[in-house]
């Protein structure tokens, strides 16, 4: 799975599954930037073939609804959707 890295403070292993066309995903990224969170992300709509299958399989494991955005923290906690309060609480 190819992930892009965004620099910031280390607040654990943070992975964001997003779509390049999704406005809630854009808001989520802006909030993570605002909170100075270092994170990895992938735009799933820009993947194809085997990589797409791999990413979808990984995301389904964390969020069977396969919805976006999905944030996975330290391979344990999952936040689905742009839940501003929960995201702020988690990283503040």
């Amino acid at each position: 799975m190819n992930l892009d890295h965004v620099n910031g403070s280390d607040k654990g292993n943070v992975v964001l599954f997003a779509l390049s066309t999704c406005q809630w995903c854009r808001k989520t990224r802006a909030l993570l930037d605002e909170l100075d969170v270092a994170y990895d992300f992938t735009y799933v709509d820009l993947t194809s073939g085997e990589e797409r299958d791999e990413v979808v399989k990984e995301l389904t494991k964390w969020n069977p609804q396969l919805s976006f955005p999905t944030i996975v923290i330290n391979n344990t906690k999952v936040i689905t959707g742009f839940k501003e309060d929960e995201i702020r609480e988690t990283f503040s």
Binding site: L19, T21, Q23, W24, V44, D45, L66, S67, T80, G81
Partner: protein, 161 residues
């Protein structure tokens, strides 16, 4: 179907049909741009907030306006993208929040659905077609090319009886 090219036209169309757009104009404009990206990419207006397979037949249910818009407007006051919102959201009676995506659940439900045996309802002279976008029903050999109510294409119709 909606004209995604111009915000003003899109808004007018929506309101003519009894729908309301999110009052955050920049947010709506960005969504319309994303829908246009999807039209260029896939050849159809896939929901910008959901993952397209690239196979139109598999994605028909999430072509904007998606099959889930009306249900989400009733239950949450907004469609999944928050492109469309309810009057209560517009008037500030309900706060706009991130909502769950019901698509997977609805697809699973549809798989289980047992078709109604038309014998139970007497013999129908013509099949009944349901527009899955707006719920318009008509009795015809074939569905109309475009839904006369919401202008959805004929492939959004399902024969229910």
């Amino acid at each position: 179907m909606g004209n995604f090219d111009f915000y003003e036209d899109f808004k007018k169309d929506a309101e003519k049909n009894g729908y309301f757009l999110n009052e955050d104009i920049e947010f709506v404009k960005a969504l319309l741009e994303s829908i246009k990206v999807n039209i260029d990419r896939y050849g159809y207006a896939n929901c910008p907030c959901r993952l397209a397979s690239g196979d139109k037949k598999k994605d028909l249910d999430m072509i904007c306006p998606c099959n889930y818009r009306d249900m989400d407007l009733s239950d949450y006051g907004a469609c999944f993208c928050a492109l469309y919102v309810s009057e209560d959201v517009l008037n500030g009676k309900i706060k706009l929040n991130s909502i769950p995506d019901r698509r997977m659940e609805e697809l699973a439900k549809n798989k289980k659905e047992v078709p109604i045996n038309s014998n139970e309802l007497g013999k129908l002279k013509v099949p009944i077609w349901n527009c899955k976008v707006c719920g318009y029903l008509c009795g015809k050999e074939k569905p109309p090319l475009k839904c006369p109510i919401c202008k959805a294409d004929s492939d959004r119709f399902e024969q229910i009886l």
